[in-house]
Symmetry: C2
Subunit: 492 residues, 2 copies
Amino acid sequence: MSKEITSRKDDYAQWYNDIVLKAGLADYSAVKGCMVIKPLGYALWENMRDVLDRMFKETGHQNAYFPLFIPKSFMSKEAAHVDGFAKECAVVTHYRLKNDPNGGGVIVDPEAKLEEELIVRPTSETIIWNTYKDWIQSYRDLPLLINQWANVVRWEMRTRLFLRTTEFLWQEGHTAHATRDEAIEETRKMLEVYATFAEQYMAVPVVRGVKSANERFAGAEDTYCIEALMQDGKALQAGTSHFLGQNFAKAFDVTFRDKENNLDHVWATSWGVSTRLIGALIMSHSDDKGLVLPPKLAPMQVVIVPIFSKDAAAQAKINDTAAALMKTLRANGVSVKYDNDDTTRPGWKFAEYEMKGVPVRIALGARDLENNVAEVARRDTGEKASVSLDGLGEHVIGLLSEIQDNLYNRALTFRTENTRKADSWDEFVKILDEQAGFVSAHWDGTGETEEKIKELTKATIRCIPLNNEQEAGACILTGKPSAQRVLFARAY
Amino acid sequence: MSKEITSRKDDYAQWYNDIVLKAGLADYSAVKGCMVIKPLGYALWENMRDVLDRMFKETGHQNAYFPLFIPKSFMSKEAAHVDGFAKECAVVTHYRLKNDPNGGGVIVDPEAKLEEELIVRPTSETIIWNTYKDWIQSYRDLPLLINQWANVVRWEMRTRLFLRTTEFLWQEGHTAHATRDEAIEETRKMLEVYATFAEQYMAVPVVRGVKSANERFAGAEDTYCIEALMQDGKALQAGTSHFLGQNFAKAFDVTFRDKENNLDHVWATSWGVSTRLIGALIMSHSDDKGLVLPPKLAPMQVVIVPIFSKDAAAQAKINDTAAALMKTLRANGVSVKYDNDDTTRPGWKFAEYEMKGVPVRIALGARDLENNVAEVARRDTGEKASVSLDGLGEHVIGLLSEIQDNLYNRALTFRTENTRKADSWDEFVKILDEQAGFVSAHWDGTGETEEKIKELTKATIRCIPLNNEQEAGACILTGKPSAQRVLFARAY
Ligand SMILES: [Zn+2]
Ligand SMILES: [Zn+2]
């Protein structure tokens, strides 16, 4: 397999696919729209999952697991939800195969037809709220703070590895509260957990905001989101947190008695992030040499490559130096590999680890060691430096931290430079066509205008930023009065 | 909800269900045969998963993720596999719902019929070996050591929480090797990983063995298994490891070039354990007061219950003692909760934590503290002891280890006492009917005899133990010559 990848400039979409395939993150599968997540991609997902899981638990949530299948009738119980989700779904209609009497392998047994079809979950609000009905009777059962790690299926006609696949992995939080205020507080708290994760671990700066009515989750009263900007100037929704009001509680008749023995419906939230985050990670930091990973999430943070020496004493010194360095790094929780495979050359290894996004590479050669130094290369900038063996471990630990910060700052600078104000329709279109990025512009607040703008430019309202500055203006399309700018972009 | 549970003596099956439901491990769901895994059950599964995952990684395996769906035609590619698995499956036939034109909610869109039906994976050999075809060309690509954590679906008519559910969670390892010997070595290595996990973490002694041809996995040349004995004398298969020969490599045409450039088919193994292990854990150790958990897997290892005092100084001393103890325990990696909820009484809490299987309970009362002691109760034996506050933390840590050992030894004694030799048909039937347990007996080695014994007694050959003693004898049913005893039991 050729390890060359298309440059971003030549074909951004192909560059993305090349990275996913050639870094070994994922592969296409025999099932249309479904991918195989390869070991490096899955290790990355495990690291993301472990950090998020810890953050969820620290904020009082517990994990549970609900069925993969949802009875078809559940999908129609919440009026808005059915329009949003009960459409492109995988439908299970039968529960048995049998040998083809005509000898053609196996066929579906027509006698094993389900009375009611089952939907492979596209999201689990319905099956979970049907369960919560049994779990919630009193204010003492609230709040109920549950998260699920699971696979979900949404039948997609046009798929892209990680960004949009028929099956994907995600987590979905589903919480129940006694009051509206508490549910809204939970919705915002989880948005902040996502934003913190994106910025501090993924090194991806995000805009925290609220969706317009058109872009709301089907069944939500408000959808909060974090939006990131990719290197091609397109936005990517990286996580959502929904305030569901009493909609699902009413649809599934989930009530509770408060301290005064009054009966009321429960208030709900749901929130989720998925393997799509891996797509966001790739497109935020990677370059034309391959994947670039933030050290805090990289499955392999440091690789040590020996420049083999034919002199036994010199080679022993290389091995000993590597062993001592690994010991120091591992004692500090750094994941490090010594790649002493002698069937491939150092240059091949360098390219391979660049492709796979290993943040720091250390080359150990006999001559360098004689001078008491090692060559340390950082993946983010490509810089190489001769570093003294004395304190090399501490230097590398500091460098990992520096790379993490640099990736974040670089992405933040990019976003700042690519967030522009537009005050007329022409300006708006010109920015979208010539520069892309976020466009901050006035909007008259109606769904019709939003829809029209989308039709004309393919740009959507990514969000109304939280704590948005209020400023009187005129809608870029209709000229009608507007009280604030909102953030537009073309998006993934 | 009443917290009383049926006793094992009165109704063993009901006792089991009571524990699962009332300890809060799992719940029934709206989807026939599927369960909801509740927070305590899922936390237990997470602990099991984390230990196993570490053991898999230490033996060189990596995780990956393959599609939920399998094209129907894949199921018929391996001749034996199709008979074993392509039967009771969930079949996806359509990919879209639409609004019922007659206003009855949503219906399956007849226009959205799949060209080829998709099966929800009952196990993933076929989709994985279809992928391995692309990943393996040379001996340098081998061994390929991959594991997947996933949900699978097997349509079951009669289900029981954890023990047999339509959907369940599991891990499935799928490895590819250059030689037959290496694949067999892997099969046995992973069996030993499972046995070590069962014995050292679950505190469940297991018999390591090989299945008879009748009980082999569909598509395997040999199925290795670990078998445990439950308190009602029935056996439970706790894990299996399969040597698949070249069957799947041939079915999916997976070949490799060896060092001499010869082309050969790849050798395969697969191995798995599932949430069924939770059923085995429950039935090995629990009692008529509820769940009993081995300390190494218990989500909460220690609970501290204050006996509230109206004297502020005395209550402050209780709180301080709890805080100091928690600090010591947590520093030693012990998970501990201080339950100072003042809306429930200590006696209610004691019963609740007994039900939930918390290994050690510490009661802190003012009078005890004056005497510089605390009351420490162990869940396995129910014993209570007055323990000096000096060194209480160390005492508790030692006690957790003692409980772990005691659970294992108790289960081992039970199994030893319930493993009996039968040398005639009458003796065999009498043991099964009156005492249950494992029965070690001679068998003529034929599938027909095995089948006949199963029809007559409902007992199956659980396994031919590894390193089985060779001993000439006569088959208990046919009297034909036999070279060794095998292990029979009625089983879950
Ligand atoms: Zn109602
Ligand atoms: Zn072939």
